[in-house]
């Protein structure tokens, strides 16, 4: 009795100390540095944009985890391939002169690029599922994870070998290269587009899951594959559909990140992929709204954290991972709870 209470108390105490330290640090830095409000707003907006991208990728992790209980470690690479495909689509569109056309043409071209990127990711995701994951569906959990690590490496280095080392630079058309300036706050158009497109796609996904027959089948398969099959659900098809949805979102993220960061290369999916996974875990893996909020929170922490704590921005990854570790210490199933945890009894 005493022991368990003591360890719980210890963890709580530790939590209080950590929070107190962070608050103290933020307050002292805030006073000492005295950044203008506009700086914080700009950073906050960056955080939301980053969060939006993470969310699109995080949803893929969460979807696959929700159904197969495996971490699709290669999901970041699926996103990267979307970015690469989008890059070539952009080259093609530029060669046709679409990027200098009227607004309508440019918008259509951008949509074309987005869709091509999504297609590239979908093909990759589905192929992965077929070749690297499906044969392992009944294997112990470690086995598909290792296979996924292999897939991640394979995709990265194949892209490196096939498309070369040099980064591929996205050139934004004029239409989206500017931004809105109010006072000292500058909001790039790409940021706006990313944020709203993310929200739009996430809502779409949510509706598919909750309202459609496919979504219902996905939820049923997540709970119990054999019983779902007894109801006449083609489990393989539903799993493929899950990969299609997750990969499509990742592809969209890849293209948007390409426009935002202006470059894509073989390893540009790796760190965002890890971050997105972190975000999914933060929100409670398997939990769709959790993944969205976890991503936005992580984006904000990354954007605001270094300045608020008064440390160099190089440490933003450290902050992100530290947050992950801390959250998991206090809430092992994420902030919003792992929806599917009871399956794993």
């Amino acid at each position: 009795m005493e022991k368990q209470a003591l360890s719980k108390l210890f963890i709580r105490l530790f939590g209080v100390v950590v929070i107190a330290l962070v608050v103290w640090r933020v307050v002292t830095v805030g006073i000492a540095e005295g950044y203008p409000t506009s700086f914080w707003i700009s950073q906050g907006i960056n955080g939301l944009v980053l969060g939006g991208v993470y969310a699109l990728v995080a949803l893929g992790y969460t979807l696959v985890y929700g159904i197969l209980f495996m971490i699709n470690f290669a999901h970041g690479e699926v996103m990267m391939i979307g970015g690469i495909t989008g890059f070539f689509a952009l080259q093609f569109a530029a060669a046709q002169g679409w990027m200098e056309g009227s607004t309508a043409v440019v918008v259509a071209a951008l949509l074309f690029i987005l869709i091509m990127g999504m297609l590239g990711s979908v093909v990759t995701g589905v192929t992965l599922e077929r070749l690297a994951y499906r044969p392992l569906r009944r294997a112990p959990r470690l086995v598909p994870l290792i296979s996924a690590i292999g897939a991640s490496l394979f995709l990265q280095y194949s892209v490196l070998l096939i498309f070369g080392v040099s980064p591929h630079s996205y050139r934004k058309p004029d239409l989206i290269s500017g931004g809105i300036r109010t006072g000292d706050v500058f909001i790039p158009y790409t940021g706006l587009i990313i944020f709203f497109a993310s929200v739009f796609l996430m809502l779409g996904l949510y509706l598919i899951i909750q309202r459609t027959k496919l979504g219902r089948a996905m939820r049923a398969v997540a709970e119990d594959k054999d019983t779902a099959a007894l109801m006449g659900v083609n489990v393989d098809a539903v799993i493929v559909a899950t990969f299609v949805l997750g990969s499509a979102l990742a592809g969209a993220a890849g293209v948007m990140l390409g426009f935002h960061n202006t470059v894509v290369k073989f390893n540009s999916g790796f760190i965002p992929g890890l971050k997105a996974f972190t975000a999914a875990v933060l929100g409670g893996i398997g939990n769709i709204p959790g993944a969205m909020f976890g991503s936005l929170i992580l984006g904000m922490i990354e954007a605001l954290g270094p300045s608020a704590l008064g440390i160099p921005t190089e440490y933003k990854d450290i902050i992100a991972f530290s947050v992950l570790v801390l959250i998991l210490i206090f809430r092992p199933s994420g902030i919003f709870g792992e929806i599917l945890s009871e399956k794993k009894a």
Partner: protein, 270 residues
């Protein structure tokens, strides 16, 4: 007889569902007692509260002078309560003998350093552990199976091995969760005999959950009946059998009583 274990007002809630509801229970030292009731009545949950897997929201459980609530399961087995599981949970990749050796873990003391340098103490302890494991296997009737992989044992023998593993920890109280489930009549007879020998030869107090009324009525000195998490009756077998509430909630008027004992798969979740 003195009470070995005494539970008072034990309550366990899952979500909104009260799985165990203010249950009082006393197990006499040296007795064989049973816990019965329909599926989902909270029997296994009660076991889990006793062995530290769950922590009851309310109530106290005292065992041999120690409070059990809040203790971890590895501490509880150290105090002398061992158990088996409804859906057999052996260490599948281990041999039969190794399973029983793990069962003795809590009674062994050699440190990792002792293992690396093969200290005389460690060697003696390992040798004794192996001898004791062999003895226990012979006790349950698996003497020749030491090197068999535990998953390769037939179903009934797996149950026996679980009991051997549990008594490896030299418990005072052994909790058996449906020991006769899925056994044919002959195996059930043997199980009844084993439970008797556990108490008579090994001096272990036995508390068991069982659906097979043949077993329950045959060996229990005391029966507690749970329904919807509440204790609805307790007493000697004859008393319980005659209790109208038990008949209504569990035994039924007779025609449709499940007498075949046990159910194929137990993963009943709340």
């Amino acid at each position: 007889m003195a009470a070995l274990l005494e539970a008072k007002g034990v309550t366990k809630v899952f979500g909104g569902l009260t799985a165990v509801d203010a249950v009082d229970l006393v197990i006499e030292r040296g007795s064989i007692a049973s816990l019965i009731g329909p599926n989902g009545a909270g029997k296994t949950t009660f076991f889990n509260c006793m062995t530290g897997l769950y922590r009851p929201e309310k109530g106290s459980i005292h065992f041999d002078g120690h409070s059990l609530v809040g203790q971890r399961s590895d501490q509880i087995i150290g105090l002398g309560i061992a158990r088996t599981y409804q859906n057999i949970r052996l260490f599948k990749g281990m041999t039969v003998l190794e399973n029983v050796l793990v069962g003795q873990h809590v009674r062994m003391k050699a440190s990792p350093l002792g293992a690396v340098f093969r200290s005389p103490f460690q060697q003696a302890e390992e040798r004794q552990a192996k001898e004791f494991a062999q003895e226990l296997l012979e006790f349950v009737g698996l003497g020749g199976e030491g090197e068999t992989l535990s998953t390769n044992l037939p179903y009934g023998d797996q149950r026996l091995l679980e009991i051997a593993r549990a008594i490896g920890s030299r418990p005072q109280l052994l909790l058996l969760d449906e020991p006769a489930a899925g056994m044919n009549p002959r195996e059930t007879e043997e199980m009844i005999d084993l439970v008797h020998r556990l108490r008579d030869v090994k001096g272990i107090t036995v508390f068991l959950i069982e659906h097979d009324m043949k077993v329950v009525m045959n060996i229990s000195e005391n029966i507690t009946v749970l329904d919807y998490g509440k204790k609805i009756a307790e007493g000697k077998p004859a008393e319980v059998r005659a209790n109208p509430r038990v008949v209504e909630a569990y035994l039924g008027p007779g025609v449709l009583v499940d007498t075949s004992g046990g159910l194929e798969k137990k993963g009943e979740k709340l």
